[in-house]
């Protein structure tokens, strides 16, 4: 069998493929070749084959049949084999495959290998994908290497220890003795990873945190040396000595100083020093400053230091570099709750950021702006935010609208302003308003009693031109239904009342009903509004009845149900409409039957004195079921223009137990309210 092709060859071949299908074909061919080569247990070329497999895996093709081969490579004596084998293990294996446990022994041996690079490979792999079982087995080896004088291995062991602690938190105690001398190292790599290890331990255990607080002076010293040491070519990045290490130490100091007065005091000076001395012309300097600011804000620092920190953030906001502006806004967002007044000073800069072109910056500026709104600045801020709502990308509109509603509710200087703001949001971003905002708004409008006429008038005018924005239309429909009488009577005080007829109002509501832009919920609102107007309007009740009855056969089940119920109101309960004639008395009678047999053909008759007029409406039925299981209701309308005492003679006829029955009675004890 010819020697398997080199990785380079394979890559070259695949790059000539012009379509995805062609590439797939080439890959499949090569996979077949690799598989047969694996079957032959060829040691020489295993390394090459696995390398090719990893490349194909990166492109997205399955490579699981190479997992066992990786293990064989790891077990080999050659460094080249081990290198690819461990890489393969990291890319292809994970805890869910049982295969990975087989690695444990190899790793254990390699951790004790004579070549440091082999040890390094083993540490790296264990630290990347070691499972809890593996970590448990090998933690001792890692701990040993943590104490070695070889800085290359020590730094890797430190990060490996972090992984072990993450997987098996109970083992954290085991690494405690080894941490004693970690900070005495000169090698920056070891220092860096040691700080990471200490940080992890402090974050996981309050006891460890308390224990390591005593390291604060040492950390402060190291940081000081870094800033004051002058130029050191080894660690220099753009003129600053090892900024990565500085940032790490600052972060650990933050954790140690949090909620602890003594530690915070010990670091005050160095923080002030870093904050004032760091060169800000390059990104590295700003990274350090940023971390310093976060630390100052998080620990119990003195107020002068805090103001310094916020001012640094304020300066960041004016920086040309977008990344700096972004982190400044993010940090200000974190501190706005605790240092509200200090952040307020930068309000105008923050508001300017609303006009930035960068989406990420705009979002943060918006969130921060909402956090800064208070009773004093609400008018000005709202103007800016409404302008933002108008011009921002669609992805912001929903959040912005909700934010404006919240802020307006908390800080509205007047009811009129509040309603105007809501109107502005509904008309500007009407389709982006969240569904749950609609009932809240309705509630709000209901409570502002003196603004009802103004509100309904403005809403009416808003939807006249355009009724496509659903939340706006829903709120408007509800208001028109509720306050339609105010609308047509032209009672508005706040602005020039408009002339609207009942028909015009019904026109718009009907258009909403028919429009195919209207959502089902919106139509429900419109139909209910039309129905409610039947009690508020006087001339158009018939038109309303017609509309409602049409929708009794609507395809939309929700609408149909409403229409049917409203129709029923018209038919059965029409008498309950507010009486236009106050001298009519409405009497409802109810007849029930407690015997064991039904009463059928039940007829109720009544007679009244001459000055009265009587109208008997149809009874609900002519059968009274037995055992009080049902009743007959009938409505009587009595016209009593002379307001005389009401008297009535009644006659009941019905069939019971097979025979015809009759009952006569006189009723004189109507309550005085019914005829006075």
């Amino acid at each position: 069998m010819p020697a398997p092709i080199r990785l380079r060859e394979l890559i070259r071949t695949i790059r000539t493929a012009r379509t995805q299908a062609e590439e797939r074909e080439m890959i499949q061919k090569e996979c077949a070749a690799i598989r047969s080569s694996f079957r032959e247990e060829d040691n020489t070329y295993r390394c090459r084959n696995v390398a090719k497999l990893l490349y194909m895996h990166m492109l997205g093709y399955p490579a699981h049949f190479g997992q066992l081969e990786c293990l064989k490579l790891i077990a080999s004596q050659k460094f080249t084999d081990k290198r690819i084998g461990y890489l393969g293990a990291m890319l292809l294996l994970d805890e869910r495959q049982d295969v990975h446990l087989l690695m444990t022994n190899c790793i254990k041996n390699d951790l004790n290998h004579s070549t440091q690079y082999v040890q390094g490979l083993a540490l790296c792999t264990l630290g990347c994908m070691g499972s809890s079982e593996m970590c448990r087995d090998l933690a001792g080896e890692v701990e040993k290497l943590l104490k070695t004088s070889n800085s290359y291995l020590r730094k890797k062991a430190a990060l490996c220890a972090v992984h072990v602690i993450r997987k098996v938190p109970e083992l954290m105690e085991m690494f405690l003795p080894a941490t004693k001398n970690l900070l005495n190292e000169k090698n920056h790599g070891v220092l860096h990873t040691s700080v990471v290890l200490l940080t992890e331990m402090c974050e996981r255990s309050p006891d460890m945190l308390a224990h390591f607080r005593k390291l604060v002076p040492q950390l402060v010293r190291i940081l000081k040396n870094l800033i004051m040491s002058g130029y050191s070519p080894e660690h220099d990045v753009s003129g600053i000595s090892d900024p990565f290490l500085q940032v790490r130490i600052l972060r650990l100091l933050r954790i140690l100083g949090r909620n602890d007065d003594d530690s915070s005091e010990a670091m005050n000076d160095i923080l002030a020093q870093v904050a004032t001395n760091t060169e800000t012309s390059k990104n590295v300097g700003n990274a350090i400053l940023y971390e310093t600011v976060l630390t100052i804000m998080d620990i119990k620092s003195e107020s002068g230091l805090r103001v310094l920190a916020i001012n640094i953030l304020g300066r960041f906001l004016l920086n040309n570099d977008k990344n700096i502006r972004y982190v400044a806004l993010t940090s200000l967002l974190k501190t706005v709750q605790t240092d509200h007044n200090a952040v307020q000073r930068h309000r105008s800069t923050i508001v300017d950021c609303l006009k930035d072109l960068d989406v990420s910056i705009k979002r943060r500026a918006m969130e921060l702006s909402f956090a800064l709104v208070n009773g004093n600045n609400v008018r000005g801020m709202m103007k800016e935010l409404l302008y933002f709502l108008d011009s921002c990308e669609p992805e912001f509109k929903a959040d912005c609208a909700s934010g404006i509603f919240l802020a307006a509710e908390k800080y509205a200087p007047s009811k009129r302003w509040h309603i105007d703001t809501i109107m502005r949001v509904l008309t500007t971003a009407g389709s982006y308003v969240r569904d749950d905002a609609v009932p809240n708004l309705i509630q709000l409008i209901t409570n502002s009693v003196e603004m009802h006429a103004y509100t309904v008038q403005r809403l009416y005018k808003a939807i006249l031109g355009d009724y496509s924005q659903q939340p706006l239309v829903q709120v408007a429909s509800w208001c028109i239904g509720e306050y339609g009488d105010l609308l047509v009577s032209g009672q508005c005080e706040e602005e020039e009342p408009i002339q609207v007829t009942e028909d015009e109002v019904l026109d718009i509501l009907e258009s909403i009903l028919i429009s195919n832009m209207s959502a089902s919920v919106t139509r429900g609102y419109a139909l209910t509004a039309i129905m409610k107007l039947s009690t508020r309007f006087t001339c158009t009740v018939n038109r309303i009845k017609k509309v409602v009855s049409i929708y009794g056969s609507s395809i939309d089940v929700e609408l149909q149900q409403r229409a049917v119920e409203y129709n029923a109101l018209f038919k059965k309960y029409d008498h309950m409409r507010s009486n236009t004639n106050p001298s009519v008395t409405v009497i409802t009678i109810q007849a029930s039957n407690s015997t064991e047999l039904d009463m059928t053909d039940f007829v109720f008759q009544a007679a009244v004195p001459k000055t009265f007029q009587l109208q008997l409406l149809s009874p609900s039925s002519s059968v009274i079921p037995a055992f009080n299981s049902g009743t007959i209701t009938q409505v009587i309308k009595v016209l009593n223009p002379q307001k005389q005492q009401l008297r009535m003679r009644i006659k009941l006829t019905y069939n019971h137990k097979g025979s015809a029955m009759q009952d006569l009675a006189e009723v004189n004890n109507f309550p005085p309210q019914s005829w006075q």
Partner: protein, 193 residues
Amino acid sequence: MIKAILIFNNHGKPRLSKFYQRYSEDTQQQIIRETFHLVSKRDENVCNFLEGGLLIGGSDNKLIYRHYATLYFVFCVDSSESELGILDLIQVFVETLDKCFENVCELDLIFHVDKVHNILAEMVMGGMVLETNMNEIVTQIDAQNKLEKSEAGLAGAPARAVSAVKNMNLPEIPRNINIGDISIKVPNLPTFK
């Protein structure tokens, strides 16, 4: 913690993908596609930070990226990492690649993806930053490569010859000499027969 490091080109073809958290193969490919989709939409003059896509953990995680010529370098991190610090880290990574490959370009990454993994392994381990000193990293990589070469035996002879010639330090010979209007082309050195 760094959740993933991705390098892909302007068309979304992956050049390196390293995940420090467990994801299935399908999810890995989806993450690459989703990340490319998010990052390629960005303008040139906006900030280098993005909220992570849904697959990689949503708004708790950030994508910090840098665009160099035809390649995007994307680090997906959680909130424990400093955004500005990671930007610097990407810079150090690219500079290290440049040192190891001598004026690195996309082709180098394509044909030597295993070497790129090795370099990355000296910088980031288990999702945490291991070493940031470029010279230190290059020294360690060189030593390991030497170890590999010494094992290669006879099969490695051509490769050794090539690198020997490369390190020969021939003086720079200009290909074109311009004296005013006259342009003289220097002939190639004669080949050995």
